[in-house]
């Protein structure tokens, strides 16, 4: 548990750094459809990077159009849950930016200790910048309502699972 807390705060810091670094790289001020990640505006370059990362690393499970695996609310034979959609029909938008980052970097076990799932921990596979970018891309696809709700959850520091 203790390890988890330290890990999570370290993650938030590194995610912020990743965002800030790439925002600077892009020259700062390019706004992409009012999407923010961890409080920082997201650039269209980040979204483009995120889209590429999504296609290479996420689409195989979460669907090319973010639609999730078929029948995703029903457990697989091995007892695990299929990959849910990342569009507004799923529940990704119920998680704060910080939790989305933690889940993507550490797997679902990063927010629910001991939880078994087929979701990979991308910490060894993707850089923090790429993780932030893919989540920014996912967020950029949401309709306004989902984006607003998720912004409120993020603002409240929702620690959620």
């Amino acid at each position: 548990m203790r390890r988890n807390v330290i890990l999570l705060s370290a993650i938030a810091v590194s995610a912020l750094a990743a965002i800030a670094a790439s925002a600077q790289l892009q020259g700062g001020d390019v706004r992409a459809q009012d999407v923010t990640f961890l409080g920082q505006p997201v650039t269209s370059e980040q979204i483009a990077l995120g889209q590429k990362v999504y296609g290479e690393y996420c689409a195989s499970c979460h669907g090319v159009n973010l639609e999730g695996q078929p029948d995703w609310k029903r457990r697989l034979e091995n007892g695990r849950m299929p990959a849910p959609p990342h569009d507004e029909s799923g529940h990704t938008w119920h998680h704060s930016d910080q939790d989305l980052f933690a889940i993507t970097k550490l797997g679902v076990g990063g927010v629910v200790p001991g939880y078994e799932s087929d979701m990979l921990a991308f910490g060894e596979i993707l850089s923090d910048e790429e993780i932030a970018a893919v989540l920014a891309f996912i967020k950029s696809t949401w309709p306004e309502r989902q984006r607003d709700v998720q912004a409120r959850i993020t603002a409240k520091e929702g620690g959620g699972s």
Partner: protein, 316 residues
């Protein structure tokens, strides 16, 4: 009935899909007898109990109502079948949702006198548990045996699957009890707690995933270097026959178990035993979290002090 049926969860074959199974049951209904009745058989098996304001609704053998003077009147149970579970909401006085043994939900809007089927879209399997969303009185959740957790946002007029059943100790487990708990999840909503044949679990109302109950401040305590919060879970491996959260004090939970009535003051982290008689169902008053009634092996009992003292509740 709940008690005995629950202890052996049928693992409806890992080969045969749940839908195929249900489909086969439905098509076979005319030819062979079903394991549970789909016939229009009046009666209320229960046992289940709920408060409707100050009044009590009791489904045990028959369906009855007590309006506080100690007397009970018999109600006509829903013609669609016998009742397995009951739920009410303080914001909808007179409305009672009943989970039916023969499948589906029945709803009364007049305190239990007249009933209407509200089962459109629900699988034809027993509705073992039902609860009304604490923050949205027209949202009803139903636990369908052998299937999963279903949700209606229009007081039962239409239903959609919310979540498959929880996976505990290497198998999918039926829900035996449900309670909407009006405490924030950090995901923009509140919790739904559930009982299974193996104990307690919960899911946020975004239905992200089933998970164990954990101290809400565990992360904060650890980060600030304070000692980890203490935990005293319910006895391991016991079936939860009934579960409620007090609407006036959502952190207050009561659970009915084979080992008795248990109470928690911190939303399920620390539990203490309040009665050691086999308990089948439990209900808590809408405005008084200390006022609790339970159906036990020894009959109907009531406590007005959070479970410290109990008296028998006569049923004429």
């Amino acid at each position: 009935m709940k008690d005995t049926n629950m202890t052996t969860t049928p693992r409806y074959s890992t080969r045969l899909s749940r839908r195929a199974f249900l489909g086969a049951m439905v098509t076979g209904a005319g030819l062979i007898g079903l394991p549970f009745s789909l016939r229009a058989a009046p009666g209320a098996t229960g046992p289940a109990i709920a408060f409707d304001g100050d009044a009590l609704i009791l489904a045990q053998d028959t369906l009855s109502r007590s309006d506080g003077d100690g007397g009970w009147i018999e109600l006509s149970a829903p013609a669609v079948g016998s009742i397995l579970s009951l739920a009410t909401h303080p914001g909808r006085p007179g409305r009672i949702a009943a989970g039916l043994a023969g499948g589906g939900i029945a709803l009364s809007e007049d305190g239990g006198h007249r009933w209407e089927a509200r089962s459109q879209g629900l699988p034809d399997a027993p509705a073992a548990a039902v609860t009304v969303a604490a923050a949205e009185p027209d949202t009803i959740y139903a636990a369908i045996r052998g299937d999963g957790l279903w949700k209606s946002e229009d007081a039962g007029r239409s239903w959609a699957l919310a979540m498959d059943r929880p996976w505990l100790a290497d198998a999918e487990r039926d829900l035996t009890a449900l309670a909407s708990v009006d405490l924030a999840t950090g995901m923009g909503g509140i919790w739904i707690y559930a009982g299974t044949e193996l104990g307690l679990t919960r899911v946020p109302d975004c239905f992200c995933r089933w998970q164990d109950v954990q101290p809400g401040d565990a992360m904060d305590a650890l980060a600030s270097g304070k000692p980890a919060p203490s935990e005293a879970p319910l006895p391991e491996g016991e079936t939860i026959n009934g579960l409620v959260s007090a609407p006036s004090l959502p952190t207050r939970l009561y659970a009915a178990l084979p080992s008795g009535i248990w109470e928690s003051q911190d939303a399920g982290v620390v539990w203490s035993q309040k009665l050691n008689t086999r308990a089948l169902a439990v209900a808590v008053h809408p405005t008084n979290a200390d006022h609790v009634v339970a159906i036990t092996r020894d009959g109907l009992v009531e406590s007005r002090d959070g479970g410290a003292n109990w008296t028998a509740l006569g049923r004429a």
